[in-house]
Symmetry: C2
Subunit: 393 residues, 2 copies
């Protein structure tokens, strides 16, 4: 059964050490959740995912309901058996992607871009749910709170998320308010569906909406606190600047029942993580660590970057051609123990997909090392030193 325990609170912020207990094992928090969108981490075998110290991974309801379909995954014994990942598993609701693809790229929307981009596939939003066009075959698909929850029951993850309308940034307060109210009603329908059809083993997170408006965030948080959710996921628009994001995450987190678990949806930058932890966030997810890896960008502590403005070590760079050092001398990952920058550079130049695999393994281990350091730092209540170690150039 799902359980969340706070093991230690910081004296300086809402940062805390915690433990999530699930039917598939524990997650020590703060923790990073890796995105295995289509029931796999792209190019990485599950033994390497595990050996990188990964505690929990995520798959996407939207992608899996379209391909291979949730009934197939259920018949396979659920996502754990299907993917070979025996540890804790998280699924989102599909809402983010439906409204993302619908509005033409919610990533930029959430983060404040003013324009729609890409092809719009969202056909209709009603009180009942949403209709969208499948990116696989163009057929029209309905997604409602009931369907999203049933799909997530079939998928069988340990932590699942309420279907909500993911409100874009550019809409006005009235739209945001109406949308948030609708997400509240949808949240109750998800809870009812889980109670009716679930096996009692899955934890359901309420999504906190309300955009950049503190009164709407408060209303959304109050609703989540008053109902029988297992935890919270902070979603919706977080504004268009870093400082606005920190402010919204901080304000929203403060409004939540502190005995429950709090996830921050889609955020994975190292500074953002330190700030999130201070706001009381317990878990984070983001596609970036493995996505940038496939393009040759390795995450390292800032002090190991040769270019002081760079965010990552870009292994495509010719300076690594004859560099027979590991990506990161500090790192104990499979890649750093066995291969050099020169070898990984060669793989990228030769367009060998193994390059992306090796950097993905490194970035996963690095994110896990980051969170190990954060947990160690919280144990002695000195997050500043850890942040300095990871973030200072």
């Amino acid at each position: 059964m799902f359980k969340f325990d706070v093991l230690k609170n910081s004296k300086y912020s809402r940062a805390r050490l915690g433990k999530i207990t699930t039917p598939h094992g524990d997650v020590l928090t703060p923790a990073f959740i890796f995105c295995g969108t289509k029931a796999n981490i792209k190019g990485v075998t599950i033994d390497h995912v595990k050996n990188a110290g990964t505690q929990i991974m995520l798959s996407n309801t939207y992608h899996l309901m379209l391909q291979p379909g949730s009934e197939l995954v259920r018949d396979a014994g659920g996502l754990h058996k299907f993917t070979g990942w025996s540890g804790p598993m998280f699924t989102d609701s599909g809402g983010f992607q439906v409204f993302s693809l619908g509005h033409g790229g919610v990533q930029s929307e959430i983060k404040g871009a003013q324009q729609f981009q890409g092809k719009k596939t969202l056909l209709k939003i009603t009180e009942d749910g949403a209709f969208f066009k499948s990116y696989i075959d163009g057929r029209i698909v309905e997604l409602t709170p009931e369907i999203s929850t049933k799909v997530q029951i079939d998928l069988g993850a340990d932590i699942i998320v309420c279907f909500d309308e993911c409100t874009p940034y550019h809409v006005n307060k009235l739209y945001t308010s109406n949308s948030m109210e609708k997400s509240k009603r949808w949240g109750l329908r998800c809870l009812d569906t889980l109670n009716q059809y679930g096996n009692g083993q899955q934890a359901l997170l309420a999504v906190i909406q309300g955009g950049v408006y503190s009164d709407l965030r408060a209303e959304s948080a109050q609703f989540a606190n008053e109902n029988d959710f297992h935890g919270f996921a902070i979603g919706g628009s977080l504004g268009c600047t870093k400082s606005q994001m920190y402010q919204i995450v901080d304000m929203t987190s403060e409004m939540l029942d502190r005995s429950k678990y709090v996830h921050l949806l889609g955020i994975g930058g190292i500074e953002d993580i330190f700030n999130g932890v201070r706001c009381g966030i317990d878990t984070f997810d983001c596609v970036a660590p493995t996505r940038i890896a496939r393009h040759g960008s390795a995450i390292v502590k800032r002090k190991y970057l040769t270019e002081k403005t760079a965010r990552y070590l870009n292994l495509n760079n010719a300076i690594y051609k004859n560099d027979h050092n590991p990506i990161d001398h500090d790192c104990d990952c499979y890649t750093c123990r066995n291969f050099t920058r020169s070898y990984v550079h060669h793989l990228f130049k030769a367009k060998e997909i193994l390059g992306g695999t090796l950097v993905s393994i490194h970035n996963m281990r690095t994110m896990n090392r980051l969170f190990e350091d954060i947990r160690k730092a919280l144990d002695v209540d000195d997050l500043n030193s850890a942040q300095k170690e990871w973030c200072e150039y």
Copy 2:
């Protein structure tokens, strides 16, 4: 130091059990050599290569001399350190690719197609060597027996091959004869270069040429027998039908000093392997097992194929969508122990590169299981039973 021992001879054919000793470990023969063209097996981490029971892998001189360059690999400590593969390693001479790309696709040439295909990059063949255009940047590159051998010394594989002219099928006997004579002269230059510049640790194989002509094969074999090579690689055109191939391999192998090791270049079909073993071939190499894997074709014993005309189990096939069995119940590979046909089918449908990785691992393990079975069969001198088990529908 390199050594080859015959452990047991069959009473029924020239088939034999043997052991190759190299500075990086032993290879029990008959054995399969996996192609890691550009210093990696595409999409497979080296731990999975090893865990599949792989004894020896091959990299290609042609590709590596162009990218990243042999000096770089030498400075990295050689191919073993560069790739993380600590076991026995084989490099070819580059000749096959130079003449292959030169004539516009030697694969079809070798196997008897009548037409040139593809873009021709071979510029000139002289007594000294060959000039060709680099497929990377178009620059003109010279490859001579001396350069090929020095590149292979830099790369540092345990078994290396003489630079020869890889004669196409369509040429006449005079061309084949002149080419074979030239390859003999080139072979001596390779031997001299290795003796002058090598560290005494690398074994050099003479390439047996002569096309489909028994008298030319005999002359090439006699030359190879009379000089101080460590073993032989049967190359050149093997005709245009299976039966012609078997005949040429059989005839050529019979001409060779039986105390030395014999490799058959570029052949990897299961029947071809059984026939090759009967002819006295000790090792085989072929890109097919991992190349077809990336397209979803899994190698299994014929009796496990549902379509009686199929050669492989094609995991793209919709019949596997809901098939929750492993690819092969007999197989002990990482993929078969952890994943179902349904999951692998899903990965291919979702265009996830992990699908190719998982089937590559399966195919490598399967080729290694095939050779384990062949060696067991030779130990009791009953190759027929093993062939029946693997090849009968």
